[in-house]
Amino acid sequence: MMKLFGITFKNRVFIASGVFGFGLKYKKVSNRVGAIFTKGITLEPRKGNAPPRVFETASGLINWVGLENPGVEKFCKDILPKMKKLRTRIFVNVAGSEVIDYERIVERIGGQVDGFELNISCPNVKKGGVAFGQDPKIAASVVARARTKTKLPLIVKLTPNFCDPLRIAKVCIGAGADGISLINTLYGMVYDIERKKPLITGGLSGPAIKPFALYCVNRLRGLGVPIIGMGGIMTGQDAYEFLLAGASAVAIGSAILRDPYAPLQIIKELKKYPPPPSSPSERGRIKEGEKKEYK
């Protein structure tokens, strides 16, 4: 049990966006993690990118899924009612191709979930995505506008691609973000040597990027808001490294592609370690007293 943003979580092991759908298939896992971050939700349904969408690389993979999702309407109608029955915290990963999309999605979903993760870091879409997360002004405006629509915890998910996440984090916190999650995938590419053109261009994830992700998390520690750290976490030891580096919780991504039950193993392994040095930032900007606002 632990508390972030003034709300309690079963534990510090969350599931990262995009690798677990909506948590409805492996409910045993969903019910035992601290929180689930949904697949990225957009205003309109998206059919996603053409295959190949995943490609294995050394100790990792590139994905080019392209935010395939049913859109916020269908999500609210068909999926959310089922998700609400899960015994875990639910954070909706919000993705937009326009700045205004984020606030609209947040508004549409309203108080039905435990919080939002603003995805301004997806490298697999033509419009928006990582381009928003690389530009401090746009990043801040996405956060500020979404902020007006919700009092729930607002986490902003940052990219480490070709920009300094510290700089972006600061403006996002200034604009009202309650927490930071990082890292989203690194740019990655594989060439098709037969056809002499790219085989896949997308986001690189997995253990390959762990040392870089850890560096990023460590760089952002001490900003006064909780960090959800991720990038290549495969074991309890990996998770603990992120906690030591300054994360208040960790999210499991690619590990789930190797084993959907990986989060449970990580939760178990993490218990072997002493609790990480707790930081005053854990509660973030949300005070104890305000807690009741969130279910």
């Binding site: 759908g21 298939k25 492996y26 295959p51 969408r53 995943v54 990792g60 592609l257």
Partner: protein, 246 residues
């Protein structure tokens, strides 16, 4: 959940196709279903490899694997007595229909069809089996197929006047079958689709997967105008619904 099992038996069928037998008593796999096989306990290679159930009997499961790249190469170095980590079964199982069936296998595509054949044989469903490969020696389990199929046709591109599986279909009265099942390289499925056979054809799709269990959306196939997940919505799809070029 990852299951850790011991390899009971390993057998080389050809110089690049081998079989692994494991004991997994508590499952009831259906044709088309597959397992995600862990290649390495380290992180390279990272992803599991999908391998079909090729036979299941009394708790013993056979997987037949062709060495294609580095993952299957590493798997081919495993020997009886060693550990294997597998997840599954995954995929929608095929419900075998009591219809006169034609099984069309190209290359290693024979693996899941062998299991389908085993099931049909068990239910006394009549079926013919067309099976093609590059070279004569690439044709595996011939005598077994001859035993359980009503008729079996084996063709190779090399030996008998460069006959392909699809060429062999010409020799058959396809309309005399109620249904066909096909598994083989994508090029074969594309050609088969073009033939526009007058009966429903179900294709077993083999592709590169991510999670293998419906979570990552990494295995898209354009089917009837929308992306489906090969692993979770398939891997068996009606051939005419598939758009191979999207």
């Amino acid at each position: 959940m990852v299951r850790r099992v011991t390899i009971k038996k390993k057998e080389w069928f050809t110089d690049d196709i081998f079989g692994l037998e494991i004991y997994l008593p508590d499952i009831d796999p259906q044709p088309g279903q597959f397992f995600q096989v862990r290649v390495s306990t380290t992180y390279d290679p990272f992803l599991n490899r999908p391998i079909s159930v090729a036979s299941y009997k009394g708790g013993t499961m056979l997987m037949i694997i062709r060495v294609l790249g580095r993952g299957t190469k590493i798997l081919s170095q495993k020997e009886a007595g060693e550990d294997l980590r597998v997840l599954g079964p995954f995929g929608k199982g095929l419900r075998v229909k009591k219809k006169k069936s034609l099984l069309i296998a190209g290359g290693i595509g024979v693996a899941p069809l062998l299991f389908l054949a085993q099931k049909m044989h068990g239910k006394r469903i009549e079926f013919d089996f067309v099976y093609g490969a590059k070279r004569e020696k690439d044709l595996i389990k011939k005598s077994h197929i001859l035993q359980i199929a009503k008729h079996a046709i084996f063709v190779t591109e090399q030996d008998r006047g460069k006959m392909t599986v699809l060429g062999a279909l010409d020799m058959l009265d396809v309309e005399s079958y109620d249904i066909a099942y096909a598994c083989g390289p994508k090029t074969m499925l594309i050609e088969l689709q073009k033939l526009n056979l007058p009966i429903p054809v179900y294709a077993f799709c083999e592709d590169f997967l991510g999670c293998g269990c419906g979570l990552c959306l990494g295995c898209a196939i354009m089917y009837k105008g929308e992306y489906k997940r090969i692993c979770e919505d398939g891997p068996v799809f009606e051939l005419k619904g598939i758009s191979f070029d999207e």
